[in-house]
């Protein structure tokens, strides 16, 4: 009797996991729950979901950080963050598949390409747009999207490619839940990277320069802050963050031009959820979306979970129009 019940439970659970996996593997491009993990009770499920969500959240957070860095230093909404990341992920995949380099070396190549791309974008375009109206500036990133959407198939072909995970196998077992080594690597990579960045931003002279530029660009320039170099570095940084989030999400799906669409959208939502006034707000928002999305999809509805998440963000925004950590912006008449 008891065993029957256990088996039944396992079946139901596996089915629901499978259902969830199908959904997660779909267009959303989020991380799927792997089957076969040892999950024995509700707490285990929660823990398992939470850790997967952290992995998804890391991807969104890295992308969101790139967006906010550009928003604060160049004063434009970086709609091309996803496309830039997509392009650099293509570079990684191409190097990995064609030159048979190990994945970490390919990723380094991708990062180098990302830095180069970031420099190019700032040097050729953003630098010359001081006089362009704020609205028109956003359109520049759209032009960039088109360029990257054209460049990727031109250089790397139109066939979807696939990229493996950093660590092919291995799980950490906690008894009630398990997590793959690769997921741990992704989560810690995200956290460590963001830790370093926030340390640099808050504690070093370089970070002070960035924060000054972010708060008031003309005054920062008057004070002798090399704002041009700051923006240049910001674009390179955004490129690197985009590339890393692309490499992290790529194994769950195939590397195509629409690889980063979901990441871009969720990173934008993370930004508004956290508020544009701080650097850490969007990161927090991105993690919340990662966690909230997975829990809603799993517990509420695998079909409507994501929509409910977005609806909740919308409702939250109505009550706090400047995001979680946003300060109230007083309009002068």
């Amino acid at each position: 009797m008891f065993f029957e019940w256990v088996f039944k439970f396992e079946d139901v659970f596996k089915e629901s996991i499978f259902e969830y996996e199908k959904n997660a593997m779909g267009a959303s491009g989020a991380f799927a729950l792997e089957r076969g993990g040892i999950v024995s009770n509700e707490l285990g499920t929660v823990l398992q979901l939470f850790m997967r969500s952290l992995e998804t959240g890391s991807v969104y957070a890295l992308a969101a950080l790139g967006i906010i860095v550009i928003y604060r230093t160049s004063n434009l909404m970086h709609f091309a963050q996803g496309s830039l990341g997509m392009f650099n992920t293509f570079v990684v995949t191409y190097v990995f598949l064609s030159f048979r380099l190990p994945l970490w070396a390919s990723t380094l190549c991708g990062i180098a390409a990302a830095i180069g791309m970031g420099f190019l974008v700032d040097f050729l375009i953003i630098r010359h747009t001081k006089k362009v109206s704020p609205l028109a500036k956003q359109i520049i990133t759209l032009g960039l999207i088109m360029v990257f959407l054209g460049l990727a198939p031109m250089l790397f072909g139109v066939d979807p490619l696939s990229l493996p995970r950093f660590l092919q196998s291995g799980d950490f077992n906690f008894g009630i839940a398990s997590i793959s080594h690769n997921a741990v690597l992704n989560i810690s990579l995200g956290l460590v990277l963001m830790g370093i960045l926030f340390y640099v931003l808050q504690k070093t002279k370089m970070g002070l320069a960035v924060r000054t530029t972010a708060s008031n660009e003309p005054v920062a320039r008057l004070m002798g802050v090399p704002t041009r170099r700051v923006t240049l570095a910001a674009w390179a940084l955004a490129g690197v963050l985009g590339c890393l989030s692309g490499v992290m999400i790529a194994p769950t799906t195939t590397v195509t031009t629409s690889l980063m669409d979901a990441v871009q959208v969720n990173a934008l939502f993370g930004c508004v959820l956290g508020g544009f006034q701080t650097f850490y707000g969007p990161v927090l928002g991105a993690y919340i979306i990662g966690v909230g999305r997975n829990f809603l999809v799993y517990y509420v509805s695998s079909i409507w979970g994501e929509q409910i998440m977005y609806l909740l963000i919308l409702i939250f925004l109505i009550f706090r129009p400047n995001g979680l950590i946003g300060k109230k912006f007083v309009k002068k008449v």
Binding site: I145, V147, G150, M154, E306, L314, V333
Partner: protein, 351 residues
């Protein structure tokens, strides 16, 4: 900029009427009608073999997107409110129209009415939201609505056909089943009507109120402009235009896939508006041409550029960036500067 302060100006049609004689005509609606007549002759060229048949498809596509772009221009140019939800509402319009026309077997008019009205109601809700949320937050909030719709298109298989998409046939009007050319003419007629409607809206009392609201909300309120009412008007109009555009899309292209209605489409519409120039009707149409027709019609036919995969899009991206960098007022701004003494008058007015 056109016809501000209720002046009956005739010069907002310079792009379509390059001949000086036409400017002097007092009635701007005549310009729209001429423009429409000119466009509706294209199927003749296509059927007589002077023009490639696929060209008609591309131009028809441009006309469809031009309707959505005009709506966004109304919202962005006049009311100063930004929306990234265009794609979602276009999709909603297209799916409702397809469902009513195909699955319920009702007439084109019923499909059109329902497919424009239902999204407009959703647009009203966003108008309410826009009282609380501002600037870039509003843009992303509208994107949020668009994404909710997009995910629903993917999931609600029974209505939208899911990832496989939804197909319809060409519309049946007054007992006549239309073909590709006549559907194209229908698009031209609708676009012309929409252009006229837009022109009369923005040059009337509502346009002035929206202008005032964009300049300063507080001043507008002091002058008796009801902020809520006009925000609702602006958003519902923009949404109705996008939904109409979606309906036209589904009846002209005959398919609707969820993957079409994504963020990039909203951004392209936004790009068309900014490139064409805010508050310019003909400018918007030229902007739409630049964004959608240039890569497919011109760049793909160039000798070397067109042969390499992806290169036309790279060129178009660069073209967009260059236009934004060197013509911040859009193409209509360039045009006005190119006309010596008209430009001065415009600049003065803009001050």
């Amino acid at each position: 900029m056109n016809g501000r302060n209720g002046r009956n100006e005739t010069n907002d049609s310079p792009l379509a009427n390059p001949k000086p004689a036409l400017w002097k005509w007092k009635n701007p609606y005549l310009g729209f009608v001429l423009f429409g007549l000119l466009l509706s002759t294209l199927p003749l060229f296509s059927s007589s073999g002077l023009m490639k048949s696929s060209t008609l498809n591309y131009i028809g596509n441009v006309l469809v997107y031009a309707v959505a772009a005009l709506g966004l221009n109304l919202l962005l140019g006049y009311a100063g409110l930004i929306s990234l939800g265009t794609a979602g509402f276009m999709g909603l319009g297209s799916y409702i129209a397809a469902y009513i026309a195909k699955d319920m077997g009702m007439s084109f008019w019923a499909a059109l009415t329902a497919a424009v009205l239902i999204p407009t109601l959703v647009g009203l809700l966003i108008g309410l939201i826009s009282l609380r949320i501002e600037g870039i937050y509003l843009a992303i909030a509208t994107l949020c609505v668009s994404e909710i719709l997009l995910k629903s298109f993917e999931q609600a298989d029974s209505i939208t056909g899911g990832m496989q998409g939804k197909s319809v046939s060409y519309p049946v009007l007054f007992g006549h089943a239309l073909n590709r050319s006549s559907t194209y003419v229908l698009l031209v007629v609708v676009l012309t009507l929409v252009m006229m409607l837009t022109h009369s809206l923005v040059n009337g009392q509502k346009g002035r109120a929206l202008h005032a609201m964009r300049g300063s909300e507080v001043a507008a309120q002091a002058m008796g402009v009801n902020l809520l009412q006009y925000r609702l008007i602006a958003f519902s109009l923009a949404t109705a235009y996008s939904a109409l555009s979606g309906v036209l899309y589904v009846f002209f292209i005959k398919f609707s896939y969820p993957s079409v209605w994504n963020l990039n489409l909203s951004l392209y519409v936004l790009a068309a508006v900014v490139i064409g120039g805010l508050r310019s009707i003909y400018g918007t149409i030229v902007g739409t041409l630049v964004v959608w027709a240039v890569p497919d019609l011109i760049l793909k036919n160039l000798p070397i550029v067109g042969k390499i995969n992806g290169l036309p899009y790279i060129f178009n991206g660069i073209l967009i960036i260059v236009v934004v960098m060197f013509a911040p007022q859009g193409i209509s701004g360039l045009w006005q500067r190119a006309l010596p003494f008209k430009g001065k008058k415009k600049e003065k007015e803009a001050e």
